[in-house]
Symmetry: C2
Subunit: 644 residues, 2 copies
């Protein structure tokens, strides 16, 4: 609703006066900038030379439409309809800023998957899908080293899955309909400023009485993920590799552990780089390491074990599929019209042009033929963040398509699965995302953690990823059990591995990862103690199957995510705890050597899952030799929990 004021106007959305504009204090600006966006292995250097930034002081209001003009000419029209503001651009400007009113104690969440902060207030968040970074904190030595050695350190905001949408504690969700580079600035006292490197089509708002209502509406608005299959709740997805013989050996070692699937990344063969063992990105079975894979999978299936693989939207120059795609002109091109080769760290690849319908369909067939037909029950659908802006696409501007790439990549996987009639059975999991990924991706995972305890890139960042994903429309997510990146002197400790086993057991999906340097790091199958702990935790995870199924149905119907920040149900908040479903409160152990820890219990009646002690809301120091977990005394699953 527009309120016409002397010399200005206000826009009311729901209960909030979100925009206050006047000649003296304009809240909308247009300008012109020249960006420089360089990429090195998925890490971006982004700079803008800002030539102008013009406050739109002059305007007319006619009904729902506000026209802004400069030198007597209309440069921007803005239409307000219900909870939506649409824009029409009549200028040559390519930068847009809008300020929304902020209040003093307001909290902000969302912006996609965030690893360093859950509450975003006080910070600026650039939105550009990229490598998440190694260390992600300029004050840590690892980050500095990664920056110096490969521009790879990242920062508090670097993420595979940004999203131009945020939730305010003033009870609205704001969604900016654009996919160019954006910057959401929550650092000011009395306004939030949204910067868009283009004029956005639309800004939409979702309002409601409380967080739960808003999140439910928002998740439906963004799209509900395809339903997670039952089999994935029943045991552990074991990440192993090294050829059939090796895989069987590891499986044998874990014969006591309930395993629902093998996840075998190197089904395509390997390439050794200084970073670690990398896969040979030519998506067809490597007969040397995995002879008669189809038959092997069939036998596994008989034992109720599925087989998962790995793929991404790139093809290695030395592979056979590259040759075919290159010949057909299916790759993203450089300005000269040649295939744009991207450096992935000691090897070069072509990027399938997902805006080219023929290429898109061809790649779908690769998945169907080389993976689904072989009996795969899923795969990691990795990457999607590396589209450079100086490329040439079949359709569209790379500056707009960069952020959309993960969505196209998800859509491709989704269609391959759907067209094979396997939706709800096959699960592919992604780390990259952007607005709209939700309706396509069957499962997300929290990207590549460092195998340490660091706040911004170690195990604590998983919890923030879970929480921010939940606010960002993701119903189903999980993480690499054990973390991923081992670089420089950073190696997994046994203690960290145990904490990661617990954390994964109390998450929607358990999947172990050997990491980038399997031989240098401890593995879930390394010793008896770990195997025993994994067995126990996998049993507990499987025991929760009916409980999780109930909340999977609730997500499908109402859009309420499996992992829930406390704020969805209580008047408190935390970036260290979460609810799994409605009734389980998970307090993961995120620090080394923690025998006891303080937990925050929201106002309710809680029962300690391990000791069956009863608690009311409040802060308590509890034993944390095993991960502290509580269930609601009033849960309809109380008996299930009581009997654990």
């Amino acid at each position: 609703m527009i309120i016409d004021k002397d010399n200005g106007f206000e826009i009311i959305i729901g209960k909030n006066k979100l925009l206050s504009h006047s000649k003296e204090n304009p809240s909308i600006f247009l300008g012109y900038g020249k960006e420089k966006i360089d990429m090195y292995r998925g890490n971006f250097d982004i700079n803008d030379y800002l030539e102008s930034r013009i406050p739109l002081r002059n305007f007319n209001i006619a009904g729902n439409i506000i026209s802004f003009y400069e030198d007597g000419k209309t440069i921007l029209k803005m239409e307000i309809k219900d909870n939506e503001i649409t824009f029409e651009n009549y200028s040559n400007y390519n930068r847009f800023w809008i300020r929304l009113n902020a209040t003093k104690n307001e909290d902000i969440y969302g912006c996609g998957e965030q690893f360093s902060y859950f509450n975003l207030r006080g910070k600026i968040f650039p939105l550009w899908t990229s490598e998440p970074g190694v260390g992600r904190n300029k004050k840590t030595y690892i980050t500095w080293l990664a920056d110096v050695e490969g521009k790879a350190g990242g920062d508090y905001y670097t993420t595979n899955f940004p999203q131009s949408a945020f939730l305010s504690s003033n009870m609205y969700y704001c969604i900016v309909d654009s996919s160019v580079y954006m910057k959401f600035d929550f650092s000011h006292v009395d306004f939030h400023e949204i910067e868009v490197w283009d004029i956005p089509k639309r800004i939409s708002f979702i309002t409601g009485e409380n967080y739960l209502e808003i999140i439910s509406k928002f998740n439906k608005y963004m799209g509900i993920q395809p339903k997670l299959p039952e089999w994935i709740l029943d045991g552990l997805i074991l990440g192993v590799q090294g050829g059939l013989e090796e895989v069987n050996k590891k499986l044998e070692k874990l014969s006591e552990v309930k395993i629902n699937a093998l996840w075998v990344q190197d089904w395509v063969g390997k390439k050794i780089t200084s970073f670690g063992k990398r896969l040979f990105w030519d998506w067809k079975v490597n007969e040397k390491y995995y002879p008669n894979l189809k038959e092997y999978i069939e036998e596994l299936n008989k034992r109720n074990i599925r087989f998962l693989g790995y793929i991404n939207p790139y093809l290695i120059r030395e592979g056979e599929l590259f040759k075919e795609a290159d010949k057909k002109g299916y790759f993203v091109k450089n300005k000269k019209g040649d295939t744009y080769l991207i450096d992935f760290g000691e090897f070069y690849c072509g990027t399938i042009d997902l805006t080219n319908e023929k290429a898109f369909n061809w790649y779908k067939e690769v998945i169907k033929k080389n993976m689904i037909d072989l009996g795969f029950s899923g795969w990691m659908a990795d990457f999607g963040e590396y589209l450079p802006i100086d490329c040439v696409l079949e359709n569209g501007d790379p500056k707009e398509m960069h952020n959309m790439w993960p969505v196209l990549w998800a859509k491709l996987n989704y269609e391959a699965v759907k067209e094979s009639g396997k939706l709800g059975e096959i699960v592919f999991f992604m780390r990259a995302g952007f607005n709209g990924i939700q309706k396509y991706t069957t499962l997300m995972w929290a990207g590549d953690q460092l195998v340490d305890w660091s706040e911004d890139d170690g195990i604590p960042s998983v919890v923030k990823s879970f929480l921010s994903s939940a606010i960002s429309g993701i119903g189903y997510t999980h993480c690499d059990l054990g973390g991923y990146t081992s670089l420089f002197e950073v190696k997994r400790s046994k203690e960290l591995m145990k904490r990661w086993i617990e954390l994964s057991a109390f998450s929607p999906v358990m999947r172990s990862h050997e990491g980038n340097r399997p031989d240098d790091n401890i593995q879930v199958y390394s010793d008896e103690e770990l195997i025993e702990y994994l067995k126990k935790m996998t049993e507990i995870h499987s025991y929760l199957k009916d409980y999780l199924l109930y909340y999977i149905d609730e997500y499908q119907e109402k859009g309420i995510p499996l992992i829930r920040p406390l704020m969805l149900h209580y008047n408190v908040n935390s970036d260290k705890e979460y609810l799994l479903g409605r009734d389980l409160l998970i307090c993961p152990v995120l620090k080394e050597n923690t025998k006891n820890m303080e937990v925050l219990l929201p106002e309710d009646e809680w029962i300690n899952l391990w000791t069956k002690e009863k608690y009311n809301g409040g802060k308590y120091v509890v034993n944390s030799e095993i991960i502290p977990v509580f269930y609601r005394a009033s849960s309809k699953f109380k008996e299930l929990f009581d009997n654990l």
Copy 2:
């Protein structure tokens, strides 16, 4: 000269079309910004929230005056007279940008004392006097450590002595008359952009046929330094401390070395901090360590050895002078009206308000009474960079006075010396500076190098400091022989010490420094080999006295600095070599373990000072076990050099 064009105008200065402005491509912008400038121990965090940046598309030309207007109202007037553009502001804007035309192969020098780059083209240079930084390169480990431990790492542009003036290879010097925060951006292909956080009063240009002519004019324009006394050329200024007994012991050790002065920083007593030994900033002799100092100095003088001390514009809270100044209200205040205490690293000080005439005069008397009357022949006039912008001054806005502080500090020292009738006899030396420092400061020094070989903060940065200072109006500069900062694991090596002895010998003034951690580092008096080398090099330095005196006179008369970049006399350039006077080419050894090195000899006839071998212009690999030095065969001092 203004050339009126259809839809625009051009401004010609000398032979250059320096400004091209049109409605479509404006070159002048005004805007509004809100800065945030935080200081931690002399290191500044500077951020600007830019609200607007308006291209000044609309203008009228009337004679020499161009008026720019917005919404029909004049907001800026610009008058062009000879080589000067003056501005009159009629708006509330507080940001100003002007673009000067750039050419493709243009080189840029100046911007005060620069340690990382001599040629500034391709980079952006913020101009704000500050600590120079430890490491000064975000890619080095030392810089990272210094940043993490104390925000002290600095960057390629951090300097004690910025100056809002630059020299273009298109044969003009551009001087921006302002002292607020500025940013000179030489990173664009076809323009240089000057950003000023205020509307500047004036931009002046100095043009000429060649560099020498322009530098000569520029140096006279900025002011000529008071003449360096003869005594300073005759031997070494020995930096020692630790009380009279200790000082005498060190002097004894160096009895074979020609010493012209003792520089005793700790005449005021000491304070131990984690950084190292710091001085007790209460500017009066410490009778315990230096009993009967006046008599001691008189005796030294009889032996032709002078005595130099140390002072800065701050007073330690625990000292007696602080009490007096505090009572008299002579300190810079905070917003509450109390004395603004500045953290200097584990101790707090008041800043003498140099804009308060009474305070200024009182501090001058402190220098006269406590230093000059005692027989001091000079001192380090340290610091000047720490004025925070949230303080309250007797006169003036801290945002304008921050950069001017070093100039006021120089003026105070200058007046104290002048009023004592000792100009040309007493020498004080400064590291901090800004536009206008030249006419006051008797000698500059190159700030606090790390005691290592690093490009941005080690011995190589001295040469860039020498070169950039020479371009920036400084006739007399020198450096800490041995460097200053020893932190973390960085310690002086004997080899580095020898290289620094050589470098100092072939600079205007030789002065040794024990560094911030004297006990942990090798000293010039540490062993026989170093003493022998110091003796030899001091003799050579003293031998050059007549030669240097000749060029001191030339500087006083023509404004040509003692240290000269090759470009002043030749059609080549280097940031690793310099001329000392007209005829000596110095090629300092800036890398470890360099037995031979390549030198660049400009087109001329050169004679190797050590071997007497003759060379024409070109690149040669020469023996560098001793610093390579060449003299011109045509020098009027040839005989002097021949006989060395």
